[in-house]
């Protein structure tokens, strides 16, 4: 088990290293960093001085070492566009994205799991078939299209919910602004969260369903029936818990995807999160922001992957006592 954890951490470090190399290369080779920092009037001499001061004439590995050192401290330089530290701008946008992603994941789990259980138990009912067909269509729809349809139906035609923005936010301390504490903030969350979570919801539903069908065929479920347990205990106590392992994996991996897909949802709903910031950065070739976003998102991916592994050990007692089943990556 120890070796397993070590290998996992090693893999994570490797991913971070590769991402760091990419981020660093962006700084170094995409455009001229000096050119990006100074105005047109600066003389060649001054430019050369700045170049020397920035260490751009140092050998590659020295520059990369400095980059890593700064990155660990959260220093990615000053945004070309905003003229403020990139990490500071990202930090301002982080709460909006995290709150949106959190609600989206909760929505996906709270709706996806019960629907999966239902379609697994009542696999021949009309409602199950309806769920499965609509989910197939849902999977084929691009996220932004779902968002536009949502806006059109619930904001433009029905006027139930706001079409964009985050509503009123409350500042919690210095670093966190939340939309959870106002009515308009909560209302503004609904459409984007559903849009963002819909794909994962159908994924989780299909996963839980196929796992349920699988588990319900096992001997211990037959034996549980033979023991006269109530159906609720069989379905929710025994079957569901055994479907949770794959659900945890997928959900964990999907949280990464959700944060990436938040880019799209935030653009559709004009949501002031870091995904929207990232798109603007790409449009403006604002390398510090792009690099900082990339590193942050990778870090989140990697941490979530490690948490998923930890949850595995928590859910499955067989793993705690040695015989590690290698999980295919």
């Amino acid at each position: 088990m120890f070796a397993f954890v070590l290998r996992r951490i090693g893999q994570s470090l490797f991913v971070m290293l590769v991402v760091a190399i990419i981020a660093f290369s962006m700084f170094r080779f995409v455009g001229d960093p000096v050119h990006n920092m100074v105005g047109q009037q600066t003389s060649m001499e001054d430019r050369e001085k700045l170049r020397e001061a920035l260490g751009l004439n140092d050998p590659f590995y020295v520059q990369f070492y400095k980059f890593i050192k700064n990155a660990v401290k959260g220093d990615f330089g000053v945004s070309y566009r905003h003229g403020r530290p990139a990490s500071e701008i990202i930090a301002e946008r982080l709460p909006a994205t995290l709150e949106l992603s959190l609600v989206a994941v909760l929505f996906a789990l709270c709706v996806g799991i019960p629907m999966g259980v239902y379609t697994g138990i009542k696999k021949d009912s009309i409602l199950s078939k309806f769920f499965l067909t609509t989910s197939l269509i849902g999977v084929s729809m691009p996220v932004f299209l779902i968002g536009i349809l949502m806006i059109w139906i619930f904001a433009v035609e029905l006027h139930w919910l706001p079409p964009f923005g985050r509503g009123d936010v409350v500042e919690l301390g210095k670093y966190w602004s939340t939309g959870f504490l106002t009515i308009s903030g909560l209302k503004a969350l609904i459409l984007p969260a559903i849009t963002l979570g819909l794909f994962q919801m159908t994924l989780i539903m299909r996963l839980v369903r196929s796992e349920m069908l699988e588990v319900l065929r096992t001997d211990y479920i037959k034996f549980a029936r033979a023991r006269g347990l109530k159906n609720s205990a069989i379905y929710f106590g025994h079957a569901l818990k055994n479907t949770l392992l794959p659900v945890i994996t997928i959900t964990g991996l999907q949280i990464g995807t959700i944060i990436a897909f938040a880019i799209i949802t935030e653009t559709v709903f004009n949501w002031p999160g870091m995904g929207q910031l990232f798109i603007q950065a790409i449009n403006n070739v604002d390398i510090p922001i792009m690099a900082a976003y990339l590193m942050l998102v990778s870090l989140i991916f990697v941490i979530i992957n490690l948490i998923v592994d930890a949850l595995y050990f928590w859910v499955d007692p067989r793993l705690k006592t040695g015989n590690v089943v290698a999980r295919s990556t």
Binding site: T218, D219, Y220, K222, F223, A224, R225, A226, R227, G228, L229, K230, N231, A233, G237, H238, K241, N242, V315, D316, P317, R318, T321, N323
Partner: protein, 323 residues
């Protein structure tokens, strides 16, 4: 015989398939007395496991009871609604399956399984159920039950797990236990222990056991009476001693001749030629007729029912008194 605990009357079990119905268990009848151990023996596909499933009300689709009835304590149970049958399962009718490795949910402790079953059927709170569970574990011969209570199935050996499964089956003192191949998946050395345990449990709790197996040796060691099944029907049923020593049906005779006897030198073991027919190809008349060494004209036309043959009942025209 005292008042029967279980009466199976003219039970037929069939499968719905694309090609119409296939009858897997065909018009069988038998009784079980309280506390009696009835062995059910036969090749795979003879219908013995299906009969067991029907008794617990756990026939899996597309199988269904086509006709006949099952009476348990003089009450019809084959047509009970799901919920009532569920209450009976585990409380009055326990079950033990073949593979103890897969009978327990790997994600729950042994104690959880026991407490859950006890609290489903008996009016006990958590603490009392736990005491009862530990008592049961002791009773089925598991050392250090308090410690074992907290452990997960994968921490138990196969034999120990089957003991847990037996403890689960006798939780609520059932009157009848269906044991479907309870020792097949175990090591030979462990088999005997488990059989002994089953026998003890039957005596101490006064539970009747229907012991389904393909191993005649297991029956000889454990059962009071034995029912030999062939192609969905009972070929012969009677007291173990007489069926083994003095088999009446040609199929049983073949089975007995195929068992090696220690101390006897035999050139080669006898065997029954051919194989059991498939469900969709059961011959008319007696289903054993293609393989029977004593077959005669009538066997090809009429299907024999059970008839008295010395101490047993056998479904064979050789024993037809009106002949």
């Amino acid at each position: 015989m005292t008042e029967a605990l279980l009466k199976v009357e003219n039970l037929s079990i069939a499968f719905k398939s694309r090609h119409g119905e296939l009858t897997a268990v065909d018009n069988i009848s038998f009784e079980m007395a309280p506390g009696e151990i009835l062995g059910v023996v036969g090749e795979s596909g003879a219908g013995k496991s299906l009969t067991g499933s029907a008794l617990t009300g756990l026939l899996e689709k597309p199988g269904f009871i086509k006709s006949g009835q099952i009476l348990f304590e003089n009450r019809r149970i084959d047509n009970l609604p799901y919920e009532q049958m569920r209450r009976l399962r585990g409380l009055k009718i326990g079950a033990i399956f073949q593979d103890p490795l897969t009978s327990l949910n790997p994600l729950y402790t042994v104690g959880f399984h026991l407490v859950e079953t006890i609290m489903t059927h008996l009016p006990m709170n958590q603490a009392k159920a736990k005491d009862h569970a530990i008592r049961l574990l002791t009773e089925v011969g598991i050392p250090a039950p308090e410690k074992r209570f907290e452990q997960y199935p994968h921490q138990f050996s196969g034999g120990m797990r089957q003991r847990v499964v037996i403890a689960l089956a006798i939780c609520a003192n059932p009157k009848l236990i269906i044991a479907d191949e309870p020792t097949t998946a175990l090591d030979v050395s462990v088999q005997a222990q488990i059989l002994r345990l089953l026998k003890t449990m039957s005596k101490e709790h006064g539970a009747a056991i229907m012991l389904i197996t393909h191993d005649m040796g297991v029956i000889a060691e454990t059962a009071d009476r034995v029912s030999v099944m062939y192609a969905g029907r009972i070929a012969e049923i009677g007291p173990v001693a007489s069926v083994i020593k003095n088999p009446q049906h040609p199929y049983t005779q073949g089975l007995m001749a195929a068992i090696p006897i220690i101390g006897h030198q035999a050139e080669r073991l006898a065997q029954i030629d051919g194989a059991m027919p498939r469900l969709n190809a059961i011959p008319t008349g007696c289903s054993f007729n293609p393989r029977c060494p004593k077959v005669f004209e009538r066997c090809y036309h009429d299907r024999p029912d059970l008839m008295t043959a010395q101490d047993s009942l056998a479904a064979c025209w050789l024993h037809d008194k009106t002949r």
